[in-house]
């Protein structure tokens, strides 16, 4: 049993499911392109010290289809709508990967509403010298080597419960993949840059940037780009962790989160 409970909240873009658990200061966690489950260890780790709200982004979980959400600004404002609908003011804002990109945009668009920000291997920047692999072309068996410090263990985490010989399972997998990565593509395809670099200077929050040292999807050199763009920000590198640092080292991430609060 997870300590996270699934609830829903109404927004102008329909009913949004979210996971809630723990107690303490309110914290909003925004998941990455791979999605989120109530069993994710990062949620448990964060809820030990915080009251965690983790909304499903459009296209993930049991969200409605939102074809009218098309671009970065749409998603940024939608996620603010969710925060408001949850009745929160200035929660600790935490985002992983694509969720980190959205969190950074939220903080840049409304700098006075975010005083604490944690970006975990966020997307959103592009360096020509360090091109990010095209995750949309990767076949399932190719993903672990980019996502995990230890691909072998990572592969087992990813395929737990998969029944690839069952056509119904495969169809459900394809539908979920199309919904999730279809949405993610609106922010990340074909190059995950929607102009965030030119807006980072607006962020006023106390910011911590967390990166797995073995991240082969968005390499740690990108931490420097965020650090340079956000005044006063700090980088925490986590050893023996890849892009899925939230799966591989959830406690180290939670510790970094605690440092902004």
């Amino acid at each position: 049993m997870s300590i996270m409970q699934q609830k829903t909240v109404q927004t102008p873009h329909g009913t949004i499911p979210y996971l809630e658990g723990g107690s303490g200061e309110p914290l909003v966690f925004l998941h990455g392109a791979g999605g989120m489950t109530a069993q994710d260890p990062i949620l448990e780790a964060l809820s030990a010290t915080h009251h965690v709200y983790a909304p499903f982004l459009p296209g993930y979980g049991e969200t409605d289809d939102n074809p009218e959400l098309r671009d970065m600004l749409d998603y940024t404002l939608h996620t603010w709508d969710v925060v408001r609908a949850l009745g929160l003011r200035d929660p600790v804002l935490v985002g992983h990967s694509m969720g980190g990109m959205i969190a950074a945009e939220m903080a840049a668009v409304c700098p006075n509403d975010v005083s604490r920000l944690v970006l975990i291997a966020p997307a959103g920047l592009w360096k020509d010298d360090h091109p990010i692999p095209d995750m949309f072309t990767l076949l399932p068996f190719e993903l672990p080597q980019y996502l995990f410090h230890d691909p072998e263990t990572g592969a087992k985490l990813m395929t737990a419960g998969a029944r690839i010989d069952d056509p119904e399972f495969l169809k459900a997998y394809l539908v979920r993949n199309a919904r999730q990565l279809g949405m993610a593509g609106k922010l990340l395809f074909p190059v995950p840059d929607r102009g965030l670099a030119s807006r980072l200077y607006r962020i006023l929050a106390k910011t911590v940037i967390v990166w797995g040292q073995s991240d082969r999807l968005i390499p740690p050199v990108y931490a420097k780009g965020f650090e340079a763009g956000i005044s006063g920000s700090q980088v925490v590198e986590v050893p023996e962790a890849g892009h899925m640092v939230i799966l591989e080292k959830p406690d180290a991430v939670a510790k970094a989160v605690a440092s902004v609060t």
């Binding site: 289809d65 074809p67 098309r70 095209d134 949309f136 072309t137 990767l138 076949l139 190719e142 056509p167 169809k171 394809l174 539908v175 993949n177 199309a178 919904r179 999730q180 990565l181 279809g182 949405m183 993610a184 593509g185 609106k186 395809f189 074909p190 190059v191």
Partner: protein
């Protein structure tokens, strides 16, 4: 029946070990394999072959659009069609087509197609594909989940640009234009006939039915495997109460090789067919369908797996597999006639896109096969659908008097002033 001689324009110099040494013929194909000087010959030969098909009496000659693709070196079919418009006389120019979500703004397509229609004297058949995921998403960077919305907007804009007679403003999500007023506009009224190449997306069926466009299934897997897909289309035609079931509502692409005998066909063409299926269709699976490119509705039908390449890929298929499986219709004129008749009746299709140039087939063999088809097969198939003979909705309507290139008069000669020195 309408027979269109189609050339994908494959690069004919992919090495023997292409499959082993390269992950994909498409998107990230090795630059070193392209030789621009050889391409000079290749393009001119391919255009000559399309013109030759016109002289053989094919109803249409067909071109299409692919990008960064070793089996289709035609990123701009309009350039080829422009050349063909000048040097052909009778055949429809079937441009299948322009991927309209890729053009900014899409009025460019309305303009270029209008130019082609004017230059060719109303011989244009216009194709509007959504485009494959390889072309549209991976090569041209369109966001997969927005591609269909962008396509639908481009379609609306083009049709309005073709048909409205006053300048208008267009305020779309992807195109903001204050003064749409294309000049020239097409000869054919209200606009050239439209064919929509599709590959199993059920939304495309409805789009064709609702707009009286022809649905074209351009696969390389042949007519036997196409039955399920086209049956799906015809079921939808019935379900939506379309006014008729004209076979011209559908088109189908088929690889065809004709020789004097079945044995000669295998001897002459098997290496070129093998080149096509083994090297040209070697596409990295990660490029096949960008997530979000297919609609959820289409995935939920579970139909896509039926159209996927065979397990293990095409490379393992022998001549026998390919001909018996219907991927390729090959043999003597009588063998080909029988199988074509099965295909036409079985799929109920009126527009046939004849893939007569295959892989690295040299011009002389292609001409031999095309001539035999035109002389000994096509005449026997022409009248297979007599009850629909007068359905003109899906084909072009050329003007009666076609201008001829090279028909300039003698240049103006001023009267000689004889008194000057």
């Amino acid at each position: 029946m309408k027979f269109t001689w189609f050339n994908l324009m494959p690069w004919p110099y992919l090495p023997d070990d292409f499959r082993e040494k390269n992950r994909s013929v498409w998107v990230d194909i090795d630059q070193k394999l392209f030789d621009p000087v050889k391409a000079h010959e290749v393009y001119n030969t391919y255009m000559d072959l399309l013109e030759y098909a016109d002289t053989l009496g094919f109803d249409g000659i067909g071109v299409n659009e692919h990008h960064q693709n070793g089996y289709g070196i035609m990123p701009s079919p309009n350039i080829i069609a422009a050349g063909l418009a000048r040097r052909t006389k009778n055949a429809a120019l079937v441009v299948l087509g322009n991927s309209i979500a890729l053009y900014n703004p899409p009025v460019r397509v309305a303009e270029e197609f209008a130019m082609l229609d004017c230059i060719s004297g109303g011989r244009l058949v216009a194709g509007f594909p959504v485009g494959t995921s390889m072309d549209t998403n991976y090569c041209y960077g369109q966001i997969p989940a927005l591609t269909r919305e962008k396509y639908a907007e481009a379609h609306e804009l083009i049709i309005r640009a073709w048909t409205e007679r006053e300048p208008f403003a267009f305020n779309g999500h992807y195109n903001k234009l204050r003064h749409v007023n294309i000049w020239p506009r097409p000869i054919q009224q209200p606009h050239p006939p439209v064919h929509i190449p599709g590959g199993g997306s059920i939304e495309t069926y409805d789009f064709c039915i609702d707009n009286t466009y022809s649905y074209s299934y351009l696969s390389f897997t042949g007519y036997i495997r196409a039955k399920a897909l086209l049956q799906g289309y015809w079921d939808q035609v019935a379900k939506r109460n379309a006014p008729d079931t004209s076979p011209y509502r559908a088109g189908f692409a088929q690889t065809i090789c004709v020789a004097e005998t079945d044995e000669e066909a295998e001897r002459l063409y098997s290496e070129h067919v093998n080149y096509f299926y083994n090297r040209c269709l070697h596409v990295y699976p990660g490029f096949a369908d960008a997530p979000g490119y297919r609609t959820i509705k289409t995935i939920q039908t579970g139909a896509l797996s039926q159209y996927a390449p065979p397990r293990g890929g095409f490379g393992q298929l022998t001549w026998k597999d390919l001909t018996e499986g219907g991927h390729v219709i090959a043999g003597s004129p009588e063998t080909v006639r029988q199988r074509m008749e099965d295909m036409i009746k079985g799929l109920h299709v009126g527009n046939i896109f004849c893939l007569m140039h295959v892989g690295n087939m040299p011009a002389e063999k292609c001409m031999y096969s095309s001539k035999l088809f035109a002389e000994k097969v096509m005449p026997k198939l022409k009248t297979l659908m007599p009850e629909w003979e007068h359905d003109e909705r899906f084909w072009c309507h050329p003007v009666d008097r076609q201008a001829r290139p090279g028909s300039l008069p003698a240049p103006y000669a001023p009267a000689r002033a004889t008194e000057t020195a």
